[in-house]
C-alpha cells in the first residue's frame, strides 16, 4: 500500500492507529532481530505522538530516521560511541516538519559512524544485514534506512542522508528508491554534520509516489540553515508523461570496473524509457576519474573540522577531569576513546590536507576541481532532461569480501556517486532488475532543483 492511500484510510477511520501501531512495533522488533537495522526503536515516543497528531499529509504514517538527525528527547548517536548518551534538546527542521504533518517517528536507523563508510560496516553499534541475503552488506552509510524500507511490509518512509552516495548506495544494494535532493533543497538544521558543503537530507521509499509525498513535506527554505534554497517548492505529486523527454547516457559511467550484469540491467531500463517516447543520447562526463580524490579531499577536510567540536565537553562522551590534564590532554584522550578507526583516519587526513604548506595543493585544488566537475554536469545536462547511469558498479558484496578491502579500495567503490554529490545536483536511485537474486539500481541525475523530472522518469520505469 502506498503511503498516500494509507494516510487517506487513516483519515477516513478505516485504519485505527492504536491497533495498527501495536502490531507495527511487533513487526519492527522482529525486523530488527533479523537484520540489525535500528539503533533505537521509539515505541513510547510514537504512542505519545499519537495522542495529539496533526491531520496533515503524513497523518499516522510511520517514518524512520537515520540516526544522524536530531530528535528531541530521543538518543541521536550518529552511529558513534562518541554520542552514545546524547539526547538532543531540539528537533531537526525535517523532524519538525514531519511531525507537523502528522508523521510518526518510529525509530532511528543504523549507519556508518558519522556517515563515514560505504557499506554500513563501520558501525559502533550494530552492523545491518541485507534483507536480500544476510551474508551481504546493505550499502552505506544509510544502511539501516535501506533495510527497513525494503523489508517492512507496512507503509513506511525512511529519512536518510547523503554526503557522497549514502542514499544511492543502500537504495541500490537493498532494492528501493532513494532521492538525494539538490544541495540546500532540504534544511540541514539538526543534522550531525559530516561535510557541510556536501551533506543532503533525502528520502528512501518503496515507490516514487512515497518519495514525492515526503519531499513535498521536508523541502523548502529554513531560516536556521543559511544554505537552504529560497526557490518555491513545486507540486511533486502530479506526474507528467515522459514522452518527448531526452536522457543522456554518460559513457564514462559504463566503463572499467562496472560489472556487465549491472550495465546490461541499466540498458534494459533505458530501452524501456525509449519505448515510451524518450530520446536517448550519449554524453560525456570527462572529469569522472578525477572526482574520487577530489571528493575525498573535500569530504575529509570538512569532516576533520566538523568533528572537532566533539571533545568531551558540553555533550557526548566524557571522562573524569583529572587535576593534571590540560585541555589538549583531556580532548585527545576523549577523542581517542570515542572515535572509531575510520573517523580517526579521516580526521588525520583532513587535517593534513588543510595544514599550512599543503592547503593550496590539496584542499584548494580539490575545490577548483569541483568547479570543473560542476561545469562538466552543466555541459552534459544541456539539452537533456536527465542523465542515466548505474547507481553502483556492482551488486551488494558479501561481508567477507568487504573486510578484505584496504581503505583506498573501499573509497574507490563510490566512483559513480561522488561526482553528482560534489556538484550538488539531485539524483534518484531506482531499482532496475536483479542479478542472481540481488537488486540492481540505476541513477537518474538532473539539473539543480529538477527533482520533479527525476520522479517522472523514475515513475515510468
Amino acid at each position: 500500500m502506498i503511503a498516500s492511500d494509507f494516510v487517506r484510510d487513516v483519515k477516513a477511520g478505516k485504519i485505527k492507529l492504536e491497533k495498527f501501531y501495536s502490531d507495527f512495533f511487533n513487526d519492527l522488533r522482529k525486523l530488527d532481530k533479523s537484520y540489525d537495522c535500528f539503533i533505537n526503536i521509539c515505541e513510547e515516543d510514537a504512542f505519545k505522538q499519537l495522542e495529539n497528531l496533526p491531520k496533515g499529509k503524513l497523518y499516522g504514517l510511520p517514518v524512520s530516521v537515520k540516526d544522524a538527525i536530531c530528535t528531541k528527547g530521543i538518543p541521536t548517536t550518529g552511529g558513534s560511541k562518541m554520542l552514545e548518551s546524547y539526547k538532543p534538546t531540539f528537533d531537526a527542521t525535517v523532524i519538525k516538519r514531519i511531525k507537523a504533518s502528522g508523521g510518526v517517528i518510529v525509530g532511528k536507523t543504523c549507519m556508518d559512524e558519522f556517515g563515514l563508510g560505504g557499506f554500513s560496516t563501520n558501525c559502533a553499534f550494530k552492523i545491518p544485514k541485507n534483507p536480500n541475503d544476510v551474508n551481504r552488506v546493505t550499502g552505506g552509510s544509510s544502511g539501516g534506512a535501506g533495510v527497513v524500507t525494503r523489508a517492512l511490509d507496512s507503509p513506511h518512509i525512511g529519512i536518510a542522508e547523503s554526503t557522497g552516495g549514502s542514499i544511492t548506495c543502500p537504495a541500490a544494494f537493498c532494492g528501493v528508491y532513494g532521492l538525494t535532493p539538490t544541495y540546500g533543497r532540504v534544511s540541514r538544521y539538526g543534522l550531525l554534520d559530516y561535510a557541510s558543503s556536501l551533506d543532503k537530507i533525502g528520502v528512501m521509499a518503496k515507490s516514487v509516489s512515497d518519495i514525492s509525498l515526503m519531499i513535498s513535506v521536508i523541502a523548502g527554505l529554513d531560516s536556521n540553515d543559511l544554505t537552504s534554497r529560497p526557490e518555491p517548492v513545486p507540486d511533486y505529486s502530479k506526474s507528467v508523461s515522459v514522452k518527448g523527454m531526452t536522457i543522456g547516457v554518460p559513457k564514462e559511467y559504463f566503463g572499467e570496473g562496472v560489472s556487465k550484469d549491472v550495465s546490461d540491467s541499466v540498458w534494459r531500463s533505458i530501452k524501456k524509457l525509449e519505448s515510451q517516447g524518450v530520446s536517448v543520447k550519449e554524453v560525456s562526463l570527462k572529469m569522472t576519474k578525477h572526482s574520487l580524490p577530489a571528493y575525498y579531499l573535500v569530504a575529509m577536510s570538512e569532516v576533520s573540522t566538523n568533528l572537532a567540536k566533539l571533545c568531551g565537553m558540553r555533550y557526548g562522551l566524557e571522562l573524569p577531569l583529572n587535576k593534571d590534564d590540560g585541555f589538549n590532554e583531556y580532548f585527545s584522550r576523549v577523542r581517542a576513546l570515542g572515535f572509531g578507526p575510520e573517523a580517526k583516519r579521516r580526521i588525520i587526513l583532513g587535517t593534513y590536507a588543510r595544514m599550512s604548506g599543503y592547503r593550496s595543493q590539496y584542499y584548494l585544488q580539490a575545490m577548483k576541481v569541483r568547479t570543473l566537475i560542476i561545469n562538466d554536469f552543466k555541459r552534459a545536462l544541456k539539452g537533456v532532461d536527465a542523465l542515466v547511469a548505474p547507481s553502483m558498479p556492482v551488486v551488494a558484496p558479501r561481508f567477507d569480501e568487504v573486510s578484505k578491502l584496504t581503505p583506498l579500495e573501499n573509497y574507490k567503490m563510490d566512483v559513480l556517486t561522488v561526482a553528482p554529490n560534489l556538484a550538488g545536483v539531485p539524483h534518484l536511485s531506482v531499482p532496475c532488475g536483479e542479478v542472481r537474486g540481488l537488486p540492481v539500481g540505476l541513477q537518474l541525475i538532473g539539473d539543480y532543483l529538477e527533482e520533479k523530472k527525476l520522479l517522472d522518469l523514475g515513475g515510468a520505469l
Binding site: L226, P293, F339, I347, Y362, T371, L408
Partner: protein
C-alpha cells in the same frame, strides 16, 4: 613519503592520541591514499575559481532582534561537567 613522525604530528594537531599500533597502520595506509590525492595536482586549474559550495550562496541577514533559543538548563543537560550554570572544562593554566 609518509612516515610515523608525520602521522604523530598531524594527529597531535587534530587532538587525537594514537597507540603505537594505530600509528603503524595509518602510516602504511596513508602512503597509498596520499599518492592518490596527488593525482589531482596534474589537473590544469589555471584561472578556475574554487567552489566552496555547489550552488552560489548569498549572505542572509535578519533584523537584530532577540529570538528564543535553548535555555541555560537545556544547554547543560547533556554533560555532567558543569558548575553554577556554566560548562566546566579541564584546567586552562
Amino acid at each position: 613519503m609518509v612516515d610515523e613522525s608525520l602521522v604523530r604530528k598531524v594527529a597531535g594537531i587534530a587532538r587525537l592520541s594514537l597507540s603505537d599500533e594505530e600509528v603503524k597502520t595509518f602510516t602504511r595506509q596513508f602512503d597509498d591514499i596520499i599518492s592518490w590525492f596527488n593525482e589531482i595536482s596534474e589537473i590544469d586549474t589555471k584561472g578556475v575559481e574554487p567552489s566552496f559550495h555547489p550552488l552560489k550562496t548569498e549572505n542572509v541577514f535578519r533584523d537584530d532582534v532577540v529570538k528564543p533559543c535553548l535555555t541555560q538548563e537545556e544547554s547543560l543537560v547533556n554533560t555532567s561537567h558543569k558548575e553554577g550554570g556554566f560548562f566546566k572544562g579541564p584546567r586552562a593554566v
